[in-house]
């Protein structure tokens, strides 16, 4: 059983009232959705991307920003490959949008067989850049990054890092740590960040590089502690946690949380969705979520977002080549 477009039917009835109100109040645009919008999430349920997507849906719904509902569909298969293939073959690109992770960059690079060209996707809007921290369990006795390096080095491949998916963001950070500090950390791919957080709290694994939103529950309960942040500056929420750069590393890494349109989306539709998500971005709820979950980055769309993709794509190509994931 999956959350699917069947919900569309129900939503049409369910939000009939809301829709009709919105339809009468919004100004005439070149494009208006004529049916429920397929809102693809390229990750599983309960993870960071999923929660964020559902929050966006809720904001659109609550503030009546769109005349037709967003219908979330999780397509987590193959580190986002399933979602990318779905987008590429979308029958109605004007009603198909997707919430991305960095697998948007890495998966097409790793699987050229999918024949997905991300530059053909419509740059609707970047909603945030998610951050990464290094987490260990409180009972590990480790409180600083130096202690972590010492312990991980001594443990060799008995030191286990859990992460979301193979060659994903988490894998890239683990590879960086291994290569830079001469470690031999073992990386175990999981389906979602929530499962990783739980297994770190249960000491099934020894460390993780969860996003703040994924680790927050166990951080607040004191089960896990952050050692370094992979950001350029200290995060407001974790003022006592140094960045890797302070510790002498030359590395920062972010996750793109963006909304993209299916390849072949018309310019009018793209404009409509950019306007829609700009409103979502500016809403009090989104801003509140951004600060609570330690998210960074400004709204970005159109040409700016495309050139951001170019840089990110090139960067990931270099990273994946260096780690040997691609040739």
């Amino acid at each position: 059983m999956k959350l699917t477009r069947r919900i569309a039917l129900g939503l049409v009835f369910a939000s009939g009232m809301a829709a009709s109100v919105a339809a009468t109040t919004s100004p005439a645009l070149a494009f208006e959705p004529t049916k429920p919008i397929d809102f693809v999430i390229m990750a599983g349920k309960g993870g960071g991307a999923d929660k964020m997507a559902r929050l966006m849906q809720a904001i659109v719904e609550e503030e009546k920003l769109a005349s037709k509902p967003l219908v979330p569909t999780n397509k987590s298969g193959g580190s986002g490959a399933e979602a990318l293939v779905h987008m590429k073959g979308a029958g109605d690109p004007d009603h198909t949008i997707m919430v991305t992770l960095n697998s948007f960059f890495t998966t097409p690079l790793r699987q050229p067989g999918l024949e997905v060209d991300i530059m053909k996707f419509a740059p609707v809007g970047r909603m945030a850049e998610d951050t990464f921290l290094l987490w260990v369990h409180k009972d590990s006795g480790i409180t600083t990054f130096e202690q972590f390096l010492e312990k991980a080095k001594a443990d060799g491949n008995k030191w286990v890092m859990g992460g979301t998916g193979k060659n994903s963001e988490d894998n890239i950070i683990t590879d960086y740590l291994n290569n830079t500090y001469g470690l031999d950390i073992k990386y175990i791919p999981y389906k979602g960040g929530g499962a990783v957080a739980k297994d770190l709290a249960g000491q099934q694994i020894t460390s993780s590089v969860n996003n703040p939103s994924e680790a927050l529950g166990f951080y607040e309960s004191g089960d896990v502690i952050p050692l370094v942040a992979f950001t350029d500056e200290r995060l407001p929420m974790f003022k006592d946690v140094p960045t890797l750069k302070e510790k002498g590393g030359d590395f920062s890494y972010f996750m793109q949380r963006a909304v993209v349109g299916a390849p072949g989306m018309s310019d009018d539709a793209q404009k409509y969705y950019t306007g829609l998500f700009d409103k979502v971005f500016k809403s009090a709820k989104w801003q509140d979520y951004k600060s609570k979950k330690s998210l960074m980055g400004d709204f970005m769309a159109g040409g700016d977002l495309k050139s951001y993709w170019e840089t990110q794509k090139a960067r990931h190509e270099t990273i994946l080549k260096a780690s040997g994931a691609i040739k």
Binding site: L9, S15, D50, P72, A81, G165
Partner: protein, 527 residues
């Protein structure tokens, strides 16, 4: 303990406030119908109505009332799923597949009233047992869930398969064959660990240029959905089987509609179905609290265990009341159980709790170990509502039973086309995809053929549910141990479970050897 009781008392009082009571009632009724519709399950009901909960939140000013509403839908659907499983033979929701195994045969025997009453009461008992466990031990149980790492969950899945080896009657090779079919179907899609596509049949152009454009295999990229197989096997397959075995002569059960019969059915339930109820309540809850599992595996496993421990396992699949009670108690119990990792660990144990989790985040709550401490005003009224909704669901369900029975009085010549239409529409509604509808019909034909050849089908259904859970856990475990399988034996929790599973799998083999030995002994003196 005293604090818990008084907190619960307050919680129940809150849940009984008019607005919350009304929400629970509406939720249960909505859930009942969503659950009873083939193709739609609790997850759809909850997801469809999620945006509406903001209205409720605005009106009541708390996050509790919207949660009570959604939780009531969840429970209602667990009750409702049994209805179409029993009356039509099509599982109303994935959680009710195991209910068709014996519920349908009971209906064909004219005992639909007993099956429906047993389902309702078992659901109530399962839900109540789970509520008590939840109330008393939530934080302690959360730490149990934390102790279940990858090897432990795999060991548990192995145990589930082991209980099902005995499911297909005495024909073990056919059962194993059926499990293997399910496992192969479960691998279609993308590999989770490596991200590589599997069994997607690529571009048909490469194989048969003549069929280019005729067959679109991209539907395989999302894998074989469980519901597609289940509706195919139990909707289309079962319908064809009934036509085949009756040649259209049978009319459906003549069931009279009196409350007196419900009373008699209750007596029957107390006599015959208590054991399945106990097994389902306990096992369902335990499987439910483990993240990754949820109510569907819980109900299937409970059915397997109930059959295995039964004194007359040969009656299972032919209309045993215990075979209805066990999965129904389990799916309610598991759905309460699945709330636990969602609230205390922030990870959903089932698709429905994933939506509830998103809801909690949107209402401004942070699920996690601190939720019980930081948000008692949210937690206790919600737990209180579990008890209230469960009782409402039982009463509503019992009140509706005569209507469900009335549906059964349709002659099969009318019912068969209806089942066909519901199967097709249900599958399409589920995924809005004709590819899946064709697959469903294909599975129905395949199931029919396998049934003629006397292959059991329940093991295949089990395998397609558990396969996608078991496989990544197996591989993650082996990654942890550098490929050394001893990881399943040396860990304190995984070890015993694995050993028991292996013994169970080998048990039929011992039985065969034992009977062979006995029969040769018996023959020797005759010669």
């Amino acid at each position: 303990m005293i604090e818990i009781v008084s907190a619960l008392g307050d919680g129940v009082w809150q849940a009984l406030q008019p607005i919350n009571l009304a929400l629970a009632f509406i939720g249960v009724v909505v859930g009942l119908f969503v659950g009873a519709m083939p193709g739609l399950g609790s997850v759809n009901g909850v997801a469809i109505l999620l945006p509406f909960t903001f209205v409720i939140q605005k009106y009541t000013g708390t996050a509790t009332s919207p949660m009570i509403f959604l939780a009531a839908i969840y429970y209602g659907a667990m009750y409702g799923g049994a209805i179409s499983s029993i009356t039509l033979g099509i599982p109303g929701a994935s959680t009710a597949v195991a209910t068709t195994f014996d519920g349908r045969p009971l209906a064909l025997k004219g005992k639909a009233d007993q099956a429906l009453v047993a389902a309702a009461v078992a659901s109530f008992v399962g839900g109540t047992v789970a509520n008590l466990l939840f109330t008393g031990f939530a934080p302690a149980l959360a730490s149990v869930a934390l102790d279940f790492g990858n090897p432990e969950i795999f060991a548990l899945m192995l145990l589930a398969f082991a209980t099902f080896v005995g499911l297909g009657g005495d024909d073990i090779p056919k059962t194993i064959f059926s499990i293997c079919i399910g496992l192969v179907l479960a691998t279609v899609g993308f590999d989770i660990i490596s991200g590589e596509p599997r069994l997607q049949f690529g571009d048909p152009l490469d194989l048969f240029p003549a069929t280019a454009g005729l067959i679109d295999t991209t539907g395989f990229s999302h894998g074989i959905r469980f519901l597609v197989l289940a509706i195919g096997v139990y909707g289309i397959g079962e319908m064809m089987w009934t036509i085949n075995s009756s040649r259209g002569k049978i009319t459906m059960t003549e069931t009279t509609i009196t409350y007196d019969r419900i009373r008699l059915a209750l007596i029957e339930y107390r006599k015959k179905a208590w054991k399945g109820t106990i097994i389902g309540s306990a096992l369902g809850f335990f499987v439910g609290i483990l993240p990754a599992a949820g109510a569907t595996p819980g109900s299937l496993m409970s059915y397997g265990v109930a059959k295995m421990t039964s004194r007359n396992p040969e009656n299972y699949g032919k209309g045993e009341l215990d075979g209805v009670a066990a999965p129904e108690a389990a799916n309610n119990s598991a759905s309460t159980g699945a709330m636990l990792p969602m609230m205390t660990l922030g990870i959903p144990g089932s698709p429905t709790t994933a939506v509830l989790l998103a809801g909690m985040v949107i209402w401004g709550l942070q699920p996690g170990p601190r939720l019980f401490v930081d948000q008692p005003d949210f937690v206790w009224p919600l737990i209180g509502s579990f008890y209230v909704s469960n009782l409402i669901a039982l009463l509503v369900n019992l009140a509706f039973i005569p209507i469900f029975l009335w549906m059964l009085r349709m002659p099969f010549t009318i019912l068969a086309p209806l089942i066909f239409v519901l199967s097709v529409v249900g599958t399409f509604a589920a995924y809005q995809n004709l590819f899946d509808v064709w697959l469903m019909v294909l599975f129905g034909l395949g199931a029919f053929l396998l049934r003629i050849l006397d292959y059991p089908l329940a093991p295949a259904v089990l395998a397609i549910v558990l396969g996608p859970i078991a496989e990544p856990k197996l591989r993650q475990s082996l990654l942890l141990s550098d490929g050394d399988p001893s990881i399943f034996f040396t860990r304190p929790i995984a070890g015993p479970i694995t050993v028991i599973a292996i013994i169970l799998i080998l048990l039929p083999l011992f039985k065969i050897i034992w009977t062979k030995v006995k029969s040769t002994r018996a023959e020797t003196p005759a010669q």
